[in-house]
């Protein structure tokens, strides 16, 4: 229970950082999706728990955003579902699972957002969206996920040990 409360605080902090610090500090430059990276990295390492992080993080981003409510949540959940389905490749190192997972979620997350905005009647230029947001973030988010991996992997190993101990 304590770790879920801890996760909630972390996700809230990342959502506030993503909406308050990054837009002001980086201006119009592409900004890493902090909530996406954390939730996807945790889903890649821990499975279902990451989906709960994605649900909570998506709801928070939706509360901070002016796009139709549920857009961020749906993008994060659908992205993680697809990443989980594609997660069949034999990988030489665990961190590749996290970077690949985050890359898949990034594509789906932005794809869902563009579809929902189109349904909501907003005009946008797909070429521009690709070059100014999606492609730069396809490089930024997986690289940033290495940092998330470095922070989350020891936590995951510790939890695994505790669970093994509890079972035995």
């Amino acid at each position: 229970m304590r770790r879920h409360a801890f996760a909630a605080v972390i996700i809230l902090l990342l959502a506030v950082l993503e909406t308050s610090v990054l837009p002001v500090a980086l201006g119009t430059l592409p900004r890493p999706n902090l909530v996406l990276i954390a939730a996807s990295a945790w889903a890649a390492l821990r499975g279902d728990e990451g989906f709960i992080w994605a649900l909570g993080g998506g709801i928070l981003l939706d509360l901070f955003s002016s796009v139709p409510f549920g857009t961020h949540t749906a993008g994060l959940i659908f992205g993680n579902v697809l990443a989980a389905l594609l997660n069949r490749l034999p990988l030489p190192a665990e961190f590749f699972r996290v970077t690949n997972w985050v890359a898949v979620v990034t594509i789906v997350f932005h794809g869902v957002m563009l579809i929902v905005l189109t349904l909501a009647g907003r005009a946008f230029d797909p070429g521009r969206a690709l070059t100014t947001a999606i492609l730069p973030l396809l490089a930024i988010n997986p690289v940033a996920s290495l940092l998330a991996y470095a922070l989350l992997a020891p936590m995951q190993r510790r939890l695994n040990e505790l669970e093994r101990f509890a079972r035995s």
Binding site: V24, N33, F51, F69
Partner: protein, 297 residues
């Protein structure tokens, strides 16, 4: 190497179901979901963190420009903005005086007719709202505390909300007295989202200060502004100042929007179109002023 595990078979279907449900309800109802009382908790945190972000941005800004010249550039930019705003006001007065002079001449040339003076308050609006127009000190100053997490929309969050009397549609003025946007539909108790003029769904009625030609300024998906719907017979020149026309009652008249930068329409087209140079830098906003102007419904 461990694969991620599934601790419960119902978690994933439940989160998928919830996310689809949120989205469907939101798209069907077309109603914004605000932070509500949560904004009391989030607003101070966002204010502090946006200050931190501003500090980080300013710390790295000299990497792009020599440090000594940065303060001078800022100072000159402030002076230009103040002079541009003053210039707009003076040209607005001049144009108004010209119109009044012409009306006066018409009245003098037609002494047999009986006249009643009136202001234009709307075109095509069936009910003109006579609520008080903007006056001095009628407004709320607010700080910009956040941006939108989506890169495809251009909204900012300010630390003034329903408790300060903020309502959807109220005009928001940035540094230099230039219109930067309007309060969006998402207004919480202590924060509100502002739709910037360069958002792709933003659309306002405007007037050229010199020729008095009316049109609209719409935000584009690339973050630029376009002057549209100006009749081909009207004179539009590069450098013409653009202010709100007040038509439709959505915004008060005379708020500075920007200048005509470049004409992009061809002579064969029925309407003229031009790129607009905004009067405010949308990327560098710290404090804004919300005019308590209630838009006509």
């Amino acid at each position: 190497m461990n694969r991620p595990r599934s601790s419960s078979p119902i978690i994933i279907p439940v989160v998928i179901g919830l996310s689809v449900l949120f989205l469907l309800i939101s798209l069907a109802a077309q109603a914004p979901v605000s932070q509500g009382p949560l904004s009391f908790v989030l607003e101070p945190v966002q204010r502090v963190l946006s200050g931190l972000g501003r500090g980080i941005g300013e710390f790295f800004a000299p990497l792009g420009q020599p440090a000594a010249s940065q303060s001078r550039i800022d100072e000159l930019e402030r002076q230009i903005a103040a002079l541009a705003a003053e210039n707009v006001r003076l040209r607005e007065f001049q144009a108004e005086a010209q119109q009044l002079r012409a009306l006066n001449k018409f009245a003098q040339d037609n002494p047999a007719l009986d006249f009643v003076g009136a202001d234009v308050v709307g075109i095509g609006t069936r009910n003109c709202d006579n609520r008080p127009v903007v006056g001095p000190n009628v407004g709320v100053c607010a700080q910009v505390i956040a941006g939108d997490p989506s890169p495809y929309v251009r909204f900012i969050t300010i630390n003034a909300g329903r408790l300060q009397g903020i309502e959807t549609g109220m005009p928001v003025i940035g540094g230099g007295g230039v219109l930067i946007g309007r309060i969006g539909r998402n207004v919480s108790e202590s924060s509100a989202q502002v739709q910037l003029l360069n958002d792709s769904a933003s659309f306002i009625n405007v007037q050229l200060v010199g020729s008095r030609a009316t049109g609209t300024v719409a935000g584009q998906s690339d973050g630029t502004l376009r002057l549209q719907n100006v009749l081909q017979t009207e004179v539009v020149q590069e450098g013409d100042l653009i202010v709100t026309s007040g038509l439709g009652g959505g915004l008060p008249p005379g708020l500075t929007v920007g200048q005509v930068d470049k004409l992009v329409s061809k002579e064969l087209e029925t309407l003229k179109e031009a790129v607009v140079r905004p009067g405010a830098d949308f990327r560098r906003m710290e404090a804004v002023f919300v005019l308590k102007f209630r838009p006509a419904s």
